[in-house]
């Protein structure tokens, strides 16, 4: 169904019929407990809030993306049913009792002993639970050259945030007796058809941040997110968070796998590609208001959005409603966590005139999110990955909000 009219007029009949005539649910008996088979679903009125592919973006549906509906989400937790998807060879629902994790070395001396773990064993080891964002390196990739898609879902929706639970990979490597001196690179490998592989720096493992995770938002990972096991690599692009994780190899060289030698490489002006670019730099986006929405009234609005950094905590977010000439500092919603989404908000009274709404995040390293001009001056316009430029939404006089880029 299309949008409803926003109206709360002083009623003609001396009262709003929705108040004066009691609805059926005020006068009847409702549904029983556990009536959805012991696992509840959203309201029927929320059917518009879906993850969606972008038409024409990919040629197949199994090597494809569905985008999280950022424009409709609150706070920082992404409901697991709306978590963005990126598959290279489709998703599977694997029997966890048969799943195994192997640790081996690129050569015989890299590990004291190669090891095999069952899920039972992994879930018995010491675990931690941490909130982190995951962003695909290609998020906002369609927008490098110019505006390509209309809403925050499509511009920024390869982004989600969850509470992950798992075992620090360091614990497993210690058990296997890894040679941390020689073994400065890890290969993570999945059990699906693509057997996705990515090179991971040992530094992140040693920091205790990299998790062999089975839990997401309190329950097990969803099949689309790698059930029963995925690598969690906070701050690093999603492709490295290998799903259906079956193997970790400790090595002394990077692996130049398909998704780090043909894709997820950044084309620079001059024709060189940056390889092994992995960190997701500081970025933000306003989700309310955002492209494809219509503001129906002048007056008060709360500008709201998300900020994040692959290098640590978000320190500050500034918001402009005049296309970047003047900025005000937004409120950051606690808790502000490292390598995690941070929700920001700011009061705004819309005067009904065109407005260019932007947000600009800064992280604890002092790094400031760049404008398109600043980013393109270094990286050109033909990359696909790691576009963290400031997003601009144009609120038109009609109230309609459009995705625009400024010169």
């Amino acid at each position: 169904p299309a949008a409803l009219a926003q109206a709360n007029p002083v009623p003609a009949e001396g009262g709003d019929p929705n108040i004066l005539n009691l609805p059926s649910y005020s006068k009847g008996l409702g549904q029983p407990v556990a009536s959805e088979g012991g696992y509840g679903k959203p309201s029927q009125y929320e059917a518009n809030v879906q993850r969606r592919p972008s038409p024409g973006l990919t040629q197949t549906t199994q090597a494809s993306v569905s985008f999280a509906p950022l424009q409709s989400l609150f706070g920082i937790v992404t409901p697991s049913g709306l978590h963005f998807e990126r598959h290279h060879q489709g998703w599977w629902d694997m029997d966890p009792a048969k799943h195994r994790l192997m640790l081996n070395g690129s050569d015989e001396k890299m590990l004291k002993r190669p090891m095999v773990f069952t899920m039972d064993e992994i879930m018995r080891l010491p675990s931690v639970s941490r909130f982190h964002f995951i962003e695909c390196g290609a998020n906002t990739g369609m927008e490098w050259g110019n505006v390509a898609v209309p809403t925050a879902q499509y511009t920024h929706g390869m982004l989600s945030c969850s509470e992950f639970t798992g075992v620090p990979l360091k614990i497993l490597l210690d058990m296997a007796g890894a040679d941390y001196k020689r073994g400065r690179y890890l290969l993570a490998e999945g059990a699906d058809g693509s057997s996705m592989t990515r090179t991971i720096p040992m530094e992140l493992v040693e920091s205790g941040e990299v998790l062999v995770a089975y839990g997401q938002n309190g329950e097990m990972l969803r099949p689309q997110q790698g059930y029963p096991l995925r690598l969690v690599v906070p701050g690093v692009q999603g492709v490295s968070w290998v799903k259906y994780l079956r193997r970790i190899e400790v090595g002394d060289q990077p692996y130049a796998t398909k998704d780090e030698a043909v894709h997820y490489i950044d084309l620079l002006p001059g024709g060189q590609h940056r390889q092994y670019s992995s960190t997701q730099e500081c970025k933000s986006v306003v989700t309310t208001p955002s492209g494809g929405q219509v503001l129906l009234d002048k007056g008060y609005y709360q500008i709201s959005g998300l900020a994040w950094s692959g290098r640590g905590k978000v320190k500050r977010v500034d918001v402009s409603v005049d296309g970047g000439r003047n900025w005000r500092t937004a409120r950051l919603q606690e808790p502000v966590m490292s390598k995690c989404l941070t929700r920001f908000t700011l009061d705004w009274a819309w005067d009904g005139k065109p407005a260019l709404v932007q947000s600009r995040a800064m992280d604890e390293t002092g790094y400031v999110q760049p404008s398109y001009g600043q980013l393109r001056a270094v990286r050109g316009t033909r990359s696909i990955y790691h576009n963290n430029a400031i997003q601009t939404w144009l609120v038109q006089e009609s109230g309609e909000v459009k995705n625009v880029q400024l010169s």
């Binding site: 949008a3 110019n146 058809g193 130049a256 950044d266 296309g323 990286r379 309609e400």
Partner: protein, 232 residues
């Protein structure tokens, strides 16, 4: 048994490691013994790959083209010149990839897409040989094997096309140690010039991603615009 967590996990057997340790590195570590020819590769290609990728790897029906855009000159320089040509449509696999191991490893683990890991080692050598030949990297009679792959590597068109001199590797072994390439400043007042809209979606494209009215919550501070209707 490892200390700390007795009874949890066990040593992997050599057979088990062999079954899963299939990766092949740029230095060819992990490459199994074997070989293949261009003509056998063509057979493999036509029976197992061409339906999706096109007879000459040129199809964009299920994915971007694998083949095309590289020249004999590129094979000499190790730089694909067309990566600099904004007019060239798309960027093929062989325009980008710098390491032949990458192709071998990927075909071996993941192709054919609907039946990964179904090819024999020699079939993988052969079909990769065929792709190298299609790209003008190896001659028609080139036998690709664990012994000759290094020769092919020396002729990869984009072998000099990669750099790790950047701030996006979160470790010490590569990159510049994490130094960002862009240094913006958080100006607060009277910052830029008059902002001008330089890019936006044309009106005729407004319904390209479906009716946006159906992609927004039914209640809230604002609704979705009905993109089946013209603006205004």
């Amino acid at each position: 048994q490892p200390a700390g967590y007795p009874g949890i996990g066990r040593e992997a057997t050599p057979k088990e490691v062999a079954a899963w340790n299939i990766d092949v590195r740029p230095d060819f570590l992990g490459l199994p013994k074997g070989s293949g020819t261009v003509s056998r590769g063509q057979d493999v290609w036509e029976s197992h790959c061409a339906a999706c990728h096109g007879v000459f790897g040129e199809s964009n029906e299920v994915f971007s083209p694998l083949i095309g855009g590289v020249t004999a000159e590129d094979v000499k320089t190790g730089h694909v010149a067309r990566l600099n040509d904004k007019g060239f449509p798309g960027r093929t696999t062989f325009m980008k990839v710098s390491t032949v191991s990458t192709i071998w490893d990927y075909v071996n683990r993941a192709m054919p897409w609907n039946a990964p890991k179904s090819l024999s080692t020699d079939e993988v050598y052969s079909v990769v040989d065929y792709l190298l030949n299609l790209s003008g990297i190896v001659p028609d009679d080139f036998v690709l094997s664990d012994a000759t792959m290094a020769q092919a590597q020396q002729r990869m068109p984009n072998r000099n096309g990669m750099t790790t001199d950047h701030g996006l590797w979160p470790g010490k072994g590569m990159g510049n140690g994490g130094k960002p390439d862009v240094k913006a400043v958080a100006c607060m007042k009277d910052c830029a010039g008059e902002p001008k809209v330089a890019s936006f979606l044309p009106d005729h494209a407004r319904n390209n991603n479906g009716n946006l009215a159906e992609q927004q919550r039914l209640v809230g501070p604002q609704y979705g615009v009905d993109t089946t209707q013209p603006p205004g």
